[in-house]
Symmetry: C2
């Protein structure tokens, strides 16, 4: 398909088809599906030649057949990041990232080992200047739309400065993906009486308010605010973020199971379910986790999109669409610019602590 | 009703009927409902005499009318704990707790200000020896049953020792409530590759394994394991726990909203919903947050049950049933005994760190 809803983009994406739980077949079915909904980037497939050829045939991709960049080695899910860096430079993952480094591709998409993908990306592409450590942002369904939550697992311990950096990266990501000019940003906190969270959250909030007045920072939000859609971007450390994300997934799965039980509880219920078939299809679509697949490694100086290891074709298609949306947007430059601006303001002493403390020091 | 499924318990419970968002009416409707499902404790009602008399009449409680302990002052939701301690000693909350202190009641139940309830309870009843700070445990629905998650908000920053204490308190609570001899206990952690959580979680796991081999400690669990029912007790710090709890509530509400939309999407769907009425009633019951209402202030040397400020009559009834279950069980003594045992073993040096570090020091 050469004509999607968008005009052909001339954007090139490197697709690592190995490494996910399901393998090249699912990756290429995902590509086929993405094309059917307007994905118009050029793609190069990285992986074992024979596997790719078989998968292309299985997915029945005969039009605009992507180029194959053969790589015999594969990063496994068991590889430790440090080992992958040492021993997997002949892998499809390494070579796909190299395409971005060399300017041949604008983005890389992989369903492989997250730790290895992060380590290889940071080594080859480096971090954005002013970013201490990259973060992983998750797309989160809300009652009305979607939001971004970060970090969801890359950084279990963070400084106030890192929370500020997460806010800046999440804002740029949300702007690229949702098309809002000024996405709202909230800091995740607890809401019980007399508890106002860690000191570092207070410091991060202060810096965001004072040093980045251009950001639509709405202050603290609570766990139940995420799915309410109170903020376009919810910022937290990787420990709480990972727990929140997995807890939400578990809860949705449990409630989904209860709904299924309800629909099949007895003959009358089954008849009722048959009557509401159309509406149930919408519900199933809303609850499909594939919709939210595709998380950029934020803070890496290049576009690297992590697709879930167990993603299905729908999920891979969503990750490819995210890669394309980000590739069309100057979001890396925005992060660079905003981080530099905020750091300048904090270091110049323009941001004073309420108690006169050195905020630049407290934030480290 | 003097005959429930249990024999009359001769247990006395002090019920603070003021302070919740809904007031004495809901508290007494809750009492009425609890009695209908076997709640056989004696109850004294603490609060404004006129309000209580009106609420007794509204709830139509004419049999076994509880005694009234008049208290004209009320702790408000806005009171800071420190202010409440200073200025609210004439309040229903303070006086209800005093009943436990003086041995006139076995437990107190209140829907009032959590911070004030905690502060007043610690001041009057003291903490259990060996417990650094009390915690709040939440009942959490799982696919097959329920589990306890703690802490969910009292302690945003914790030591490894405190996580160990939470585990011990949660285990005793689950034993009293679920009737398992050896409830399984898990430590909440992140599951991404190469991330094994904070050092203090590692230390806590080590202590639990080595110093409390009697506990059915199953190691680390992830956010999605909570609703799967992987552990009877899930231990975490109050920051992550509060976020997990509220995120789960938000997710359940969002999915519930989607289900409602599905059932009313169009005429066919509405007809279908009418057919499955019975099954939907079960679903509604499963999703009713009132089922999980009633959280003991764990670590306080006396039974104090916090009911949600916005609890309905169902919720108040659940909190009263929890109070009665705990009052019938030697769970305070169990916590005392286990904490003393574990502390003894850690301090004797019987628990060695893998690297030979002083675990007793690392845990503080």
């Amino acid at each position: 398909m050469s004509s999607g809803p968008n005009s052909p983009s001339n954007i090139h994406i490197a697709l690592d088809v190995m490494g996910g739980d399901a393998g090249p077949d699912v990756m290429l079915q995902g590509l086929r599906q993405a094309r059917e909904t307007g994905f118009d980037a050029e793609v190069t497939l990285h992986g074992r030649q024979a596997d790719i050829e078989a998968a292309l045939e299985a997915a029945n991709i005969t039009d605009r057949v992507p180029a194959i960049a053969p790589a015999e080695d594969v990063v496994t899910m068991e590889d430790k990041p440090t080992d992958a860096l040492r021993r997997r430079r002949g892998s499809s993952m390494w070579q796909a990232i190299a395409q971005v480094k060399e300017g041949n591709a604008k983005a890389v998409v992989s369903s492989g080992n997250t730790g290895a993908l992060m380590a290889m990306s940071v080594l080859q592409l480096r971090k954005i200047e002013g970013i201490d450590r990259p973060a992983i942002g998750a797309l989160w369904p809300t009652v009305s739309s979607r939001c971004v939550v970060l970090d969801v697992g890359a950084n279990v311990e963070v400084s106030a400065n890192q929370l500020v950096q997460f806010a800046i990266m999440g804002e740029a990501y949300a702007r690229a993906l949702f098309g809002h000019d000024r996405p709202s940003v909230g800091l995740l906190n607890v809401g019980a009486e007399e508890l106002k969270g860690h000191g570092l959250i207070q410091t991060a909030a202060k810096i965001l308010r004072e040093a980045d007045p251009e950001m639509a920072f709405i202050g603290f939000v609570e766990g139940n605010d995420i799915s309410k859609g109170v903020a376009d971007v919810v910022v937290t450390d990787g420990f709480s973020g990972n727990i929140a994300l997995k807890t939400a997934e578990g809860t949705a799965r449990m409630v989904g199971g209860w709904v299924k039980d309800t629909l099949t509880a007895n003959l009358r219920a089954k008849m009722g379910a048959a009557l509401m078939m159309g509406a149930l299809k919408d519900l199933k679509q809303k609850m499909n986790p594939s919709r939210a697949n595709g998380a950029p490694l934020l803070g890496v100086n290049g576009l690297v999109i992590k697709s879930h290891g167990g993603a299905d074709a729908d999920g891979v298609a969503a990750a490819l669409m995210t890669a394309l949306a980000l590739a069309k947007h100057p979001y890396l430059e925005e992060i660079q610019r905003t981080v530099a601006k905020v750091n300048r303001r904090v270091e110049s002493g323009a941001v004073a602590d309420l108690d006169g403390h050195d905020l630049a020091k407290a934030a480290q």
